[in-house]
């Protein structure tokens, strides 16, 4: 589904991703962990097409297509969804209107008929139930005045409605209480299927109790320094990242020497 080869990217003059290799097959869940500033959001941003990142090398294929050639909206229509670490408040744009426009743009791209207001509302109500979302959020401007938790839920709600093939969750669990965390996990698990994949960026293994990953990767200084199964997350929880960074530094030594 997704193949990342030696991906390098920078912001302004700062090199952030220094050669990422990652393959995500259909149905798989990958967790990406790593210290602050290691490049997790940058990776998520590059995959979703944020223009402030400059890709300086490598390639990304999504279902065989060159992803880096596509505009952000084209990626979304192809089935990529990013749950933002910091969802953007958009005053004046109604949440429902926005989501309907998004869904219909995606459906149109897939050759499906656009949903009318009634059909859309029906779908939305279904999804809201799963996520225990307060319906009043629908009629408010996108994320405006939402609490941190409401914003995160809204991201998952959008994901549920748009039903992407590849969902990338950037720290959707940060700052959530256990109930909200379960809701997020329920949303993700409801989406799971043999042809859908998820990349979960998180600092905490806690989320991974609810969304059980097939693989865990550790990102440090722009590289994946360790990959493993779900037990790697437990190990990290216990030991922190320090030991891995030391290992990585040692491995990198011959190159710099």
């Amino acid at each position: 589904m997704l193949t990342i080869k030696n991906l390098q990217a920078r912001v302004e003059d700062k090199e952030i991703l220094r050669g990422i290799d990652l393959t995500v097959n259909p149905g798989e869940i990958h967790a990406i962990m790593g210290p602050n500033g290691s490049g997790k959001s940058t990776l998520a941003g590059v995959l979703s097409g944020r223009e402030s990142y400059e890709v300086t090398g490598g390639e990304v294929l999504f279902e065989g297509k060159d992803l880096l050639e596509l505009d952000p909206e084209e990626r979304a229509r192809e089935g990529i969804f990013l749950a933002f670490q910091y969802p953007v408040e958009i005053p004046g744009v109604n949440n429902t209107y926005f989501l309907k426009a998004a869904l219909n743009a995606i459906r149109k791209h897939r050759g499906q008929e656009e949903l009318d207001a009634m059909e859309f509302l029906k779908l939305v109500k279904e999804k809201m139930k799963i996520l225990h979302m307060d319906q009043s959020l629908l009629n408010r401007p996108v994320n405006e005045g939402f609490s941190g938790g409401e914003k995160k839920r809204n991201e998952i709600f959008q994901m549920a409605v748009l039903a992407p093939k590849l969902a990338i969750l950037d720290e959707t669990d940060s700052g959530l209480d256990i109930d909200a965390l379960r809701v997020v996990a329920d949303g993700v698990n409801a989406l799971r299927g043999p042809d859908r994949s998820v990349i979960v960026v998180t600092h905490y293994q806690r989320l991974l109790n609810y969304i059980v990953p097939d693989f865990v990767h550790v990102l440090s200084k722009g590289r994946i320094v360790r990959s493993g199964g779900k037990e790697l997350a437990l190990e990290l929880e216990e030991k922190g990242y320090g030991w891995l960074e030391e290992v990585a530094a040692k491995e990198a030594l011959p190159v710099t020497a």
Binding site: E73, E89, I90, A102, I106, H109
Partner: protein, 453 residues
């Protein structure tokens, strides 16, 4: 030296005046009109066109208007087919009373009348001057003075036609009344000028909604020099909408003056989309207690458009509220000007005046000059004003695009959101729908739109 130049520029109007006075339309009016016109003409010739040395015209150079040899369009050139103006009417308002003017001349064959309550008059100003002079004379040219306004003086000098609306005591007109002024230079290919004049008089306890539209077809060169006077008596409710869809090569200078009496409630919505140079003055005099006055404005400029809004709210009496929100969307090399004056006179205690002015610049070359001007002589008042200039939030655009919404649509959504509070306050659905349509069409034309795709 300068004086001589100024004279030359005004001279074509001065020369035309004699011919105008001889014309049938001009001659059929009551005897108090010619002296008024001559006084206005002489004031105009004294003042000449404003220059940028004039504080009120600092950012707006009217030299391009002076340079064009505009011709007064005679009556009879207005044989426009009704389907040509169909685009300027409102879906859903077909049944409403609609007066149509072509190049300033009333066009009865294009106008439609609904049955109006007794005591309500909607007619051409020329007809009102003949039939209802007693209703017109106390107000005409008394609300919008021409002593300090060259263009108003010029309008008054050439006063002959326009619209007259009178809502009698206690009358309530539910349906909006649409006054549609279309201009065109075709049919002679000469640039034309018109000086439409509108007088709206609302007697005690009456209520009405008026839409003034000014429209033309892109590529037509013409100059609309409009003056509107509104007199709202005690306890009236008057909602006024001005929708500007002038040709992209047209000049539009307008002055609307409003006189409000005790406990009246007045709102003005100036919605401006077209025109090469647009100057829109709105001035309200709050001359009684307990008045609610709202002046809202929304303008969108692209290409080389210049849109200049000047507003004045004059609080003369205590316990009045005024709210003012003007928003501008500027793309390409368009320029906007906003100057909002609020006077709170010595007697006007307990005034509550709020002014907000925002501009959204969609391109690096777009520009806005804004100046709030508060002059407060009373001490127990609440006056606030705020001005912001911003650009579209790139993070918001990315957020929308990351959900599958196209770049152009994302921009349109955000622009529409910027204008949303003003659009939401438009109470007439067909006007709101039309504005939205025109706004999106204008946005799609802008260079920003191409960049975004």
């Amino acid at each position: 030296m300068i004086d001589v130049m100024e004279k030359e520029k005004t001279s074509s109007y001065l020369a035309d005046f004699a011919a105008f006075e001889e014309s049938a339309t001009a001659r059929s009016l009551p005897s108090w009109i010619p002296p008024l016109r001559r006084a206005a003409l002489s004031r105009f010739s004294e003042m000449g066109f404003p220059t940028r040395r004039d504080e009120e015209w600092r950012f707006t150079n009217v030299a391009p208007i002076e340079r064009v040899p505009f011709q007064r369009a005679g009556a009879g050139r207005n044989a426009l087919l009704s389907d040509r103006i169909a685009g300027f009417t409102f879906d859903g308002l077909q049944a409403a009373t609609q007066l149509v003017f072509v190049n300033g001349h009333y066009a009865p064959e294009l106008s439609t009348f609904q049955t109006l309550p007794q005591g309500v008059t909607v007619s051409s100003l020329a007809k009102a001057l003949r039939d209802d002079a007693a209703l017109v004379e106390p107000h005409l040219a008394r609300v919008a003075g021409f002593e300090h306004q060259a263009f108003t003086a010029l309008n008054t000098a050439f006063l002959s036609d326009g619209a007259f609306v009178h809502i009698g005591r206690g009358r309530i007109v539910e349906e909006p009344i649409h006054l549609l002024f279309v201009s065109t230079s075709t049919g002679g290919d000469e640039p034309t000028v018109s000086h439409p004049r509108t007088l709206i008089v609302a007697d005690e306890n009456s209520q009405t909604t008026i839409i003034e539209s000014y429209a033309g077809w892109d590529g037509d060169v013409y100059f609309t020099n409009a003056v509107t006077e509104v007199v709202a008596a005690e306890n009236t409710v008057v909602d006024h909408y001005k929708l500007l869809r002038e040709s992209d090569t047209a000049f539009h200078i307008a002055n609307m003056q409003i006189r409000l009496a005790r406990t009246s409630s007045f709102s003005s919505h100036s919605l401006m989309l077209g025109g090469a140079i647009v100057r829109n003055d709105v001035g309200a005099h709050l001359g009684g207690e307990g008045i609610e006055c709202t002046l809202n404005g929304l303008y969108m400029g692209t290409g080389d458009q210049l849109i200049d809004n000047h507003t004045t709210i004059d609080h003369a009496m205590p316990h009045c509220n005024s709210h003012e929100v003007y928003k501008g969307i500027l793309d390409g090399k368009a320029r906007g000007v906003f100057n909002g004056k609020i006077f709170v006179q010595l007697d006007a205690q307990k005034t509550d005046a709020k002014q907000t002015n925002k501009a959204l610049l969609l391109s690096d070359d777009a520009q806005i000059n804004t100046k709030p001007q508060l002059e407060i002589f009373a001490d127990d008042v609440k006056c606030t004003h705020g001005a912001t200039i911003g650009q579209l939030d790139e993070n918001a655009i990315f957020y929308l695009r990351s959900r599958g919404i196209g770049a152009q649509e994302a921009r349109s959504l955000l622009v529409y959101a910027f204008a949303g509070d003003i659009i939401d306050r438009i109470k007439i659905e067909p006007v709101r729908a039309q504005l939205q349509k025109s706004l999106f069409a204008q946005l799609a034309k802008g260079p920003g739109a191409e960049e975004a795709v």
